[in-house]
């Protein structure tokens, strides 16, 4: 079965770096981003998500490396 892009399904057009609760769902326990092969996110949203996670990391909202 083909996976559906979560953000497209919920009509979320822009991924915000401040929404850490959402971003946390797309990083693994080590703090690394999960591949879109696993999450089923479209390429467009994966690029937006990657930028948002990196911005959140810079401002200390998310860790670069989690314990």
């Amino acid at each position: 079965m083909k996976k559906q892009c979560y953000f497209a399904q919920h009509n979320i057009k822009h991924i915000d770096y401040k929404d850490t609760e959402v971003l946390k769902k797309f990083v693994n326990p080590h703090g690394r981003m999960i591949a879109r092969k696993r999450t089923g996110i479209s390429a467009t949203y994966q690029r937006q998500l990657a930028a948002a996670i990196k911005r959140a990391r810079f401002l200390g909202l998310l860790p670069y490396v989690a314990n």
Binding site: H10, D16, D19, E21, K24, R57, G60
Partner: protein, 175 residues
């Protein structure tokens, strides 16, 4: 991503900033007002903002102080401002906010006028994602469990009923 009005070459930007935790909580709002003033003085129109709130940083940050030594921070006040300003003015605004004495770190992003921040809706949405993620983690766990079982099968395969009966019979005979 940026929304540009061709008439005045205006673009929508957002500045997210961290105020040092050494600033007393009652003075944080004054610092936030000072940052907003820097932005509005450049002729920007504030679209949305959020007052700084205390938060624990995900990792330790350090900032060079006047004497040249580093000061470490594990918590800070996080706030943000979304505004519209001419693209020619944004560099000066960025420099002024960056060099503000109580600003630990700031991030300038180009954004859109519409609200992109889920805010209070985020936990509900995140909960929905976690359900889907559980399926992935379950799959991963089953794969790792299966791989582990393959290894352990060779070491200690479960004994069949016949084998167990035979071993019991042997033990009885010995006795």
């Amino acid at each position: 991503m940026s929304e540009t009005t061709h008439a005045d070459n205006l673009s929508v930007y957002e500045i997210g900033y961290l105020i040092e935790s050494s600033v007393p909580e009652e003075k944080v709002s004054t610092e936030a007002t000072a940052i907003t003033k820097i932005i509005t003085d450049a002729g920007a129109a504030v679209i949305a903002d959020e007052a700084p709130h205390h938060m624990k940083l995900a990792y330790e940050m350090r900032k060079k102080n006047v004497s040249g030594s580093y000061v470490k921070y594990n918590d800070a006040f996080f706030g943000w401002v979304k505004f519209e300003v001419g693209s020619d003015k944004i560099e000066s605004v960025k420099k002024l906010v960056e060099t503000h004495p109580t600003v630990l770190r700031m991030l300038l992003t180009s954004t859109v006028r519409e609200n992109t921040y889920l805010g209070k809706r985020a936990p509900a949405i995140a909960a929905e994602i976690s359900l889907k993620k559980d399926v992935v983690t379950e799959k991963m766990e089953s794969v790792t469990a299966h791989a582990g079982k393959k290894v352990s099968d060779k070491e200690s395969a479960p004994a069949s009923i016949e084998e167990m009966d035979k071993s019991i019979d042997d033990m009885v005979k010995e006795a």
